[in-house]
């Protein structure tokens, strides 16, 4: 009887999960396997892939060729990694006060304050980056405002070009991914029982030690979840650097995109994506092992 029931359960479960698994296997797992296979291939003069087994693409990425060592691609990889770390750190620094502010706000204001963080997120990625061009360029809004403000106090101001530049890329990345850090951090900050703060105060802790010994440890899961939500997309994004960085600002995402569209070397592009994937997975796994996956925030 029980075995039969379980059988029925199993059949139902399989039936319900089948469409999802068709999509997951067909459009995620098989494509990933194809990328791995392609990365060991070669290109023919027409830009098609010849499926062989060669490590040529990976050797080229490492910068080793007949002409000697060229760190071009290694620099792109480390540059992307560095930018992803910078972005994540800055997004935590900027987002934490706001997440805390919203979590401590009176219940009635909280939803509105959260809603206000979400609205920019819904205005389209590409459009948001475009907006920064208007702010950052030499004749842009920031320069005009600075010029006007300094003019008021009688200081001569020469506008400076902030676009395109690597700084502009960093600002764009922070802007794009800030909400993804604030929301999970808010979720875990909001869960902290206010009585804990009172207890800390009663036991003689000052504001600073309360923060470091109560607030920070208890909000760590949100920070971990936010880091995963920010770090991975930053590593793979190519639009921000494409639009705000000009032609010289090349991240691993740009490298991959160009191999598929301009350079027509999918095999080399695939090898670069495998390296990108390995790097993000390595960082994620290290992070998850060290701090937990932030599960309570990502998967409620």
């Amino acid at each position: 009887m029980l075995a039969k029931l379980r059988d029925k359960d199993a059949r139902r479960g399989l039936l319900l999960i089948t469409p999802t698994m068709l999509w997951m296997i067909g459009l995620l797992i098989i494509p990933l396997i194809l990328v791995v296979i392609t990365s060991f291939g070669q290109r023919d003069p027409n830009g098609n892939v010849i499926y062989t087994f060669t490590l040529e693409n990976y050797i080229r990425l490492a910068g080793i060729s007949a002409e000697g060592f060229d760190p071009l691609y290694l620099n792109i990889l480390t540059g992307s990694l560095l930018l992803a770390f910078q972005t994540t750190a800055l997004v935590i620094l900027i987002g934490y006060p706001l997440a805390y502010f919203v979590a401590r706000a009176p219940l009635k204001q909280r939803n509105l304050l959260l809603f206000l963080i979400l609205v920019p997120l819904w205005t389209n990625f590409v459009i948001r980056i475009y907006a920064w061009i208007m702010l950052l360029r030499k004749t842009g809004v920031i320069n005009s405002l600075l010029g006007w403000l300094l003019g008021l106090v009688g200081i001569q101001f020469t506008p400076f070009d902030m676009y395109p530049s690597s700084g502009a890329v960093l600002v764009g990345m922070i802007y794009e991914f800030l909400p993804f850090m604030i929301l999970p951090m808010y979720t875990s900050l909001e869960k902290i029982d206010p009585a804990l703060y009172e207890a800390a105060a009663d036991l003689g802790a000052n504001a600073i030690s309360t923060f470091f010994r109560v607030t920070l440890p208890l909000s760590a899961p949100g920070m971990v979840a936010g880091t995963i939500l920010v770090f991975i997309p930053v590593m793979g994004t190519f639009i921000v650097s494409d639009i705000l960085g000009g032609r010289t600002e090349i991240l691993v995402g740009n490298l991959i995109q160009r191999q598929f569209l301009d350079a027509r070397d999918p095999a080399f592009g695939s090898a670069a994506s495998i390296i990108l994937m390995v790097m993000t997975l390595a960082v994620t796994i290290f992070y998850a092992r060290r701090f937990g996956f932030g599960d309570e925030v990502i998967a409620p």
Binding site: I29, A131, S270
Partner: protein, 294 residues
Amino acid sequence: MSTRRSPWLTFVSIGVYIFLYAPILVLILFSFNASRTNVTFEGVITQFGPNPPANTSLVTQSACGPFHWFCVLFNNREVVAAARNTLTIALISTICSTIIGTMAALALQRYSFPFKGFSELSLYIPIVIPEIVMGIGILVLFSAVFRFLNGALGLDGDQRLGLGLWTVIISHIAFSVPFVTLVVRARLHGFDKAVEEAAMDLGANEWITFWRVTLPIITPGVLSGGLLAFTLSLDDFVITFFTNGPGSTTLPIYVYGLLRRIITPEVNALSTVWILLVLVVLMISQYLQSREAT
């Protein structure tokens, strides 16, 4: 004590809100710009009158007055086509991924079946793998499939199958399903199975129980999952970039294309319309949620 807010915290928070909104406000302001090149803000177009010749740098008058760029936008066939594509893709992929994802959530939350662990693990793939890797993977897959099909069916020239609206829709479903499943599972998590058992005891069969008890209870979860899928699809750039073909350009792809040419305030007008639409949708969903809560 717990609600006491230090002034510097308020100050910093206001600063962050300004940081979040400054670009959007500038974007909207510039959509009324009189300057055709859109490099600096030259004031709003104030005069109504016949449209200016296309070679002047300043637009001093327009048949639409301050809304000159909006009129230009709505008369632009490429934009209208891109908007139609964007909505078609978002609607179809949302409906499919909501149904499929809800089914998966029910399966994972309710039943034990072979390969359950593997299924759960595979749903995490889009979260932990950079979108660009998924994008090129799907591109490699589609090109292989199309090369095979075109060869097998002997298709040539214009008949050849290739990337288009359907490839984008199929790919959008792929990245939306895991998010729908996540949201619906959260709703199912707090579900009291006794309610269903009660319905069965009262003589309802399983279908009736599902339609009249289970579904109404999980509907809010299904709706918010669907809303999430819809916005993910509307906003998507990377996957669409690699899977769209001739005739399936979406708005984000169109804007990206414009950014590499000359940018007129038309792009801003487009952004402004987009922002207003999103706000309206958000308000409606908030209103529905608040009505449900009471």
